[in-house]
Each structure stands twice: as C-alpha cells, then as structure tokens.
Point group: C2
Chain length 224, copies 2
C-alpha cells in the first residue's frame, strides 16, 4: 500500500466513526462546534469568554486536544466550563475516535452545545470529520492577512471564520478587507466575525450565533 | 502494516534521503538552517531583514515550503534573496525529497548559507530531518508563553529559539521569563534570541550567529 492509499484508508475509517458520532449528536440535539486555528490564535480565551455568557443557560461541555499538557482544560474548568483534555501524545490533530473516547471518559451527560477545541494547527485538522455541525476557523490579526490563501483547506471548510485579537490592529500590518476577501473567495457563504476577547468585542455576536444555531438543531431533535 | 509501522517506514526513508543531503552540504560547506514555527510567527519577515544584512557578503539561498501560493518566495526575491517556492499541495511539512527536488529546480549554485523555510506548523516538521545543521523555532509573543510546553518536540529539537514580534509585548499577556524557562527545560543548550523585525531589534545578534556558525562549517569543508 502506498502513502496515498494508506491515507485514504485512514480517512475512510475516520469518516465512518465521525458519522456515528454525528448520529449520536443528532439524537440528543447537541450542537457541535470544532474550533481550528494556528497555535495561539485565541481558541481557549474565546471559550473562557463564551462560558461567561452561556454556561448559566445552556448545557455546555468542551473537549480540548493538545499534543502535551492539560493546561487548556484546566483553564476552561477555572472559567466554569466542564472540560476534558485529550492529550494526543504527538498527533497533530484530533480524530473521531479520540473525540468519542474523550467524551466517554468525560461523562458530561446530555449537552446542548459541545465545543471541540482542536490541536493548534492550520493544516491537518482540515481533513478529519469529528461529527461536528460546524468548523470555526480562528485567524489572529498578528498572523497576517495572507493566511487564508496559504492554508486554504481549513478556511474553505469553515462555515464560520473569526478574525481574532482585533485589539492588536493598530500595532500590526493586517488588512481586514483582504482577509475577508480571501476567506469569502474560499467559502462564499462563510460567516465572518471580528473578535477581541481582551477588549470584549464581538463576543455578543458570537454567542448569539451559537444560541441561534444550537436552538435550531435542538428543534429538530427527536423528543427525549 | 499498521499506522505506527507505516510512519516508521516513511521516517526511515526520509532519514536516508536527509543523510545524503547532509553529505552534499558538508562537501560544499553550506550551512543549512530549517526555520519552523506556527503560521504567522514571522519567518518570511525575518528572512527579508536577514537578506538586507547578509546578501552582499554571503552567498545565501532560500527554499520556502507552503501548502499553497508562491507568495513567500516572491517576497524573498523582492528582498534580494534567491528563493524557490516548494508548494506541498496539502502536505503539512517539508521532507528531504521535497528539499532535494526544490534545490535541483532552483539551481542556486554553491551557497554559504541555505535557509529552508518550513510550512507554518508547530507539530509535523519536528519529525522530518532535512539535512539541516540547525532547526530554528520562532515563537511570536502574540501566541502566548505557554506554547513550548504545548508543542515540546519542536522546541526540544531547535538549537536556536527566537521570540519574535517583541514590539507587541506592551499589548499582549506574554511573560518572556516563562517562555525562556519552558524552552530551556526542553533544551538546556538552546540559544534564545528576542527579535522584532518591525522595530529592527535583535537582527544584528541573529546575523552574527549565522555568520559565526556558517564560517565554522565552511572552515571544516574540504578544499574545492
């Protein structure tokens, strides 16, 4: 078996496992968000801010993937979000099996909203379905506006793109119009929000989006 | 063959190809630097600034890996640095074969100093030898000081770590002492420099390091 065939086999096995997760989430009406970005684009900070707005009224849980350390799950628990760390031990992305096993261990009970915080990597997570309803790509303004075209698979697959750390705009060379244009040309239907967790900007719009989509999914779930 | 065995086979083939590259670089006394980091940590900007100081006196060339686009090679050529783009078409890291083929196509002639700008990814490039003398890891202060422990393989293997975009320090929560401590605990001999290409800080020290190490390698190369 050559490299391409081997990769196809791995992806097919993952797709099958992701489809099972997807069915399970459909049955419970759980809306599932896969957060993907470079290291340090602000995924964990965003979830901390999200927890403050949603955790009282929505049953939220979070599984967090990292190569090493339990730091992020600890941060999220400190913010009041039930969180389980998946340590991939070198693997550069989460896969559906890791998510299923993580959820079994976490034992969150029924959730309205599940966040999957992927490993910080703009490349590999693009190929792995996780049973999620939406992939959300974060791009911090410190990274540069040329990144969507340089990492097209992620931005093409993300239905929502968040331009983060916009409080840094006065200090970096980042053209929001160019970034938006690149994202839109990769995914014409992408919703694009501008966020600064540090300055508290854009969090309301982000939480509104989550409430709306999560309610829409719950509305079509079978009665318990 | 299972996943682990398949990966071992791929890495062994890469190591063999990298050893051949290494021999070739030893014969010509070419000092080879593999630059690795997250997307948007400032690899290309650093090379632009480096070109300004070195390109007149040192024979420099650069191969640049990206998933997509020729943007970075074009930027480097505009800065006066002979550069060749390797478009990986999805692959999340360079490997020794891609570097060899890239160099054959580029036809730089003999070089004193070759930069390999890897794909923006803090995970996968750690496993692939490229015939280089030194791996240099960049970490921008916008990414957070917790990243070395979260991506330990790269920082353990990098003999030089560059903390970049230090002009942003007043605007982000980044503790340089913590970052240095994490890097040192992963690699006690790592040289750590603080850099801002935007403010022109640290570039002199970086270029001195390159001149010294490159001269040391040339000194032990066989006479032409």
């Amino acid at each position: 078996m050559n490299r391409v065939e081997f990769r196809k086999k791995i992806l097919a096995a993952n797709d099958a496992e992701a489809a099972m997760l997807n069915e399970k989430f459909a049955a419970t009406g759980t809306f599932v968000v896969d957060l993907v970005s470079s290291p340090g684009s602000g995924k964990t900070s965003l979830l901390e801010a999200t927890a403050l707005q949603l955790a009282d009224s929505v049953r939220v849980g979070c599984v967090v993937g990292d190569i090493a350390t339990e730091l992020d799950a600890q941060r999220l628990r400190n913010a009041g979000l039930p969180a389980h760390q998946i340590v991939t031990g070198g693997a550069c992305h989460l896969d559906a099996r890791l998510v299923r096993e993580g959820l079994e261990t976490a034992g969150f009970g029924e959730l309205d909203l599940l966040f999957i915080e992927n490993v910080g990597n703009l490349v590999c997570p693009a190929s792995y379905a996780l049973g999620d309803d939406v992939k959300v790509a974060l791009l911090s303004v410190a990274e540069g506006h040329d990144k969507p075209f340089k990492y097209p698979a992620i931005f093409a697959r993300a239905d929502v793109s968040l331009i983060t750390k916009i409080d840094l705009l006065p200090h970096v060379d980042f053209d929001i119009a160019v970034a938006r244009e690149q994202i839109r040309s990769l995914n014409p239907d992408a919703e694009i929000l501008e966020i600064s967790t540090r300055a508290g900007k854009g969090i309301d719009a982000w939480c509104r989006l989550l409430r709306t989509r999560s309610a829409a999914k719950a509305a079509v779930a079978p009665a318990p």
